[in-house]
């Protein structure tokens, strides 16, 4: 069997049904085999970064491994941003890159790039296939590594002569990686200690991160939180791990998190962290972060624990399994202890409610006839009943989406949290729509971000995907202008720019373009957008002076927020 056919057979064995990519000289044999390959769908993207983000969107929405296939040299380097993005957000992904013939590697051959070297720092692992006989083993290992433990991207570099060489197809039944064995079960002593710390506390807080979603542990989180009635705050990546409509939900935290959440994390006496990374966008200044609390941290990745903030009770294990273990211990606990705990934390709940009343999430209604971006997103949430899969780009609109689109389900909020990659939103939405054909998928984007991968819009048109892009158009890199307003005396250096005519642009790609300019047309605009069956770009012209509040200045303490009325604004 030819290497290229072995490759496709391997993908099928791994349960892959779709891959995103763009061909080139060195992958032509693979593409030739794909031509009449059944059961594998290849989506031609217009840029390799788009291919990788689509694979990410597909993976984030479905929980399956996303697959991208790109050519060597420039194809591989174009894919790097997406690969780094997947690495930061722990997205299970396998990216296959073409490579020049093995005998030419290292000779500065045409379109040669040291893909292994370039991607070493932004992959969980990477491979160069030197011999066609290793093909099945390496593909098998790549998928195993990508989806187990802390998920992440794996790059497999395939030289052209390897995809042309012949070998017998032998599928390895097992994976034998002696240095790799993710921990699944939590240490029972630690589990008991954690439960004891929680039940002994008076101001507990559950702090849920993206790890809970990638481990599909949402149900376990809900069950545990509600059994004990513990307040739940989530990170940007953790949105949807606990439903925004759920009784224990208090909101997202961090730089642009809710006031009550940031106050709660600063004042709690027991912080129960489930799969977050203690990112600096959440902790702010670490020496002042949550000083009164005993910290419990569950994570599959031991390097995440005590990396930024010291943890007193670390539990390494698969999140769902560890919470299950805690639940089992809880079942053995005297019900009186649980009742006493629930009673003890009542004042804490009141305190959080008090904070919320003091500084609720809010924005001023428009007085100048311009649409407030928050209003646009809130309307989208109302009209879609919070049921859409939302992909965002990066900037103010992303933060408003986090604040105002109240997510109820895991895998329904897709965003680039770790790397903060502008250009993620549209291709991720496309990938998600392929994964969930029956779902409403909306991309909330900014005029800066959308231009970074706008070429992928035609992919949505080509495949008749009913993606809706809601463009929060403020004529600028809004997040940059906000910082310039706050910290650089409104000197708008390189943050405002000329815009294309978005409606015409959508038209040119064969999508529908719509525009809203007034607050009173907002709802009708959204309804119109949803009514159209194909892809739509809704250009919402918003007030460019609007800022995201609350805001924790970078490097500041989380409980010292700039609020809407504060003089700085």
């Amino acid at each position: 069997m030819k290497g290229a056919d072995i490759f496709l057979e391997c993908l099928k064995r791994e349960g892959v049904d779709i891959l995103f990519g763009l061909p080139g000289g060195v992958t032509l044999d693979i593409y030739d085999s794909l031509y009449d390959c059944e059961g594998l769908r290849h989506i031609l993207t217009r840029h390799e970064q788009g291919a990788v983000h689509m694979a990410e969107g597909y993976a984030k929405a479905s929980g399956k491994v996303g697959v991208a296939l790109v050519t060597s040299g420039p194809g591989a380097t174009n894919a790097v941003t997406g690969i780094a993005d997947a690495y930061m957000d722990s997205v299970p992904l396998v990216c296959f890159t073409g490579q020049v013939n093995t005998y030419m590697i290292g000779n500065d051959a045409f379109q040669e790039a040291d893909t292994l070297g370039i991607t070493r720092s932004c992959t969980k692992h990477n491979y160069l296939i030197k011999n066609v006989k290793d093909f099945p083993r390496i593909v098998r290992e790549a998928f195993y590594i990508a989806r187990t433990g802390r998920p992440g991207p794996v790059v497999v570099d395939i030289p052209k002569d390897v995809s042309r060489a012949d070998a017998e197809f032998v599928w390895p039944e097992t994976v034998g990686l002696r240095g790799y064995k993710p921990t699944i079960e939590g240490h029972i002593g630690q589990v008991r200690q954690a439960l004891k710390a929680i039940l002994g506390s008076s101001r507990p807080l559950l702090y849920v991160g993206g790890g809970a979603i990638s481990a599909d542990a949402s149900d376990a989180v809900i069950r545990f939180a509600e059994k004990l009635n513990i307040p739940v705050t989530v990170t940007l990546m953790g949105l949807g791990a606990y439903p925004a409509s759920g009784p224990c939900y208090v909101g997202p935290l961090g730089m642009h998190g809710y006031y009550n959440c940031n106050m709660a994390i600063s004042d709690c006496d027991c912080l129960f962290a489930i799969g977050p990374r203690f990112d600096d966008r959440v902790t702010g200044k670490t020496d002042e972060f949550s000083l009164k609390s005993v910290k419990i941290h569950i994570d599959v990745d031991p390097t995440s624990i005590s990396k930024n903030v010291p943890t007193q009770i670390p539990i390494v294990g698969q999140i769902g399994r560890v919470i299950e273990q805690m639940y089992e211990e809880l079942a053995k606990t005297d019900p009186k202890v649980i009742e006493a705990f629930k009673k003890r934390i009542k004042p804490w709940w009141n305190q959080i409610a008090q904070w919320e009343k003091q500084n609720p999430l809010c924005f001023k209604a428009s007085t100048n006839g311009k649409v407030k971006p928050q209003f646009a997103i809130q309307k989208l949430w109302e009209v879609t009943k919070g049921d859409a899969v939302v992909a965002t780009d990066v900037g103010q609109h992303q933060m408003w989406a986090m604040q105002y689109y109240r997510v109820n389900h895991p895998r329904h909020f897709l965003t680039s949290g770790g790397l903060g990659t502008m250009g993620f939103g549209l291709p991720a939405a496309i990938g998600a729509q392929f994964a969930k054909p029956d779902k409403l998928v909306v991309c909330i984007s900014g005029d800066g971000s959308l231009q970074m991968n706008i070429q992928e819009l035609v992919v949505a048109v080509e495949h008749k995907l009913p993606i809706k892009v809601m463009l929060i158009n403020n004529g600028a890199h809004g997040m940059v202008t906000q910082w310039q307003r706050f910290f650089y005396k409104r000197r708008y250096s390189a943050s405002q720019f000329m815009q294309p005519d978005w409606v015409k642009l959508a038209d040119a790609y064969g999508a529908r373009g719509l525009r809203v300019e007034k607050p009173e047309d907002m709802e009708a605009g959204i309804r119109e957008m949803l009514k159209v069956s194909g892809p739509v770009l809704l250009d919402v012209k918003v007030d460019p002076e609007e800022d995201v509040f609350p805001m924790v200045p970078a490097g500041g303490a989380v409980n010292k927020m700039i609020l809407p009325e504060s003089p700085l604004s």
Binding site: S121, T174, V175, R178, T303, S306
Partner: protein
């Protein structure tokens, strides 16, 4: 504080780069790194000397462990272990100095491995303290050139036998 880390890794191309890259990408310092095949030709042994506070060392150990090709990592600093390094020194050895150099070779149980009319090349093995002392003494005589291998370390007792069972996943 200085730490000596001992690691068993897969003997594959690119593994050294992965290890070195982890240190470089995260801003950790490598003071020295030695690597060679073990009895099992598919496994190499690395000795890495690095420095940092407890928090940094903990991260280094965890991050090393996280690399797919790393089979086992241990910080041998605080354990009962043997450390050795090999040094080659070319010393000036004309006239009286020759006798003095040979006397030092005798005392430290070093070895003369090359002789020329005006210099000697000397091979010495030992731990850090011994080598420091020897080098100081030879400095007085006049060192022309010096090369060091970097440390190798091995834990005493049975503990270095790594668990080498492959991870298996059902098909």
């Amino acid at each position: 504080m200085k730490h000596t880390i001992s690691a068993l890794v897969e003997n594959e191309f690119g593994v050294l780069a992965r290890v070195a890259n982890m240190f470089a990408a995260r801003g950790y310092n490598i003071e020295c790194l030695t690597v060679a095949e073990t009895l099992d030709p598919t496994v190499s042994h690395m000795t890495i000397v690095t420095s940092g506070d407890d928090k940094i060392i903990e991260q280094i150990l965890k991050q090393l462990n996280k690399l797919i090709n790393v089979i086992k990592v241990s910080d041998v600093t605080e354990t009962d272990h043997v450390e050795r390094e090999l040094v080659l020194i070319k010393v000036a050895a004309e006239g009286d100095r020759r006798a003095e150099a040979l006397r030092l070779v005798e005392i430290f149980r070093a070895k003369v491995v090359d002789v020329s009319p005006d210099s000697l090349m000397i091979e010495i093995t030992g731990d850090e303290n011994k080598l420091r002392a020897v080098i100081e003494l030879f400095k007085n005589l006049g060192i022309r050139e010096i090369v060091r291998t970097g440390k190798v370390a091995m834990q005493r007792s049975q503990k270095t036998k790594a668990a080498r069972k492959p991870v298996e996943e059902a098909a």
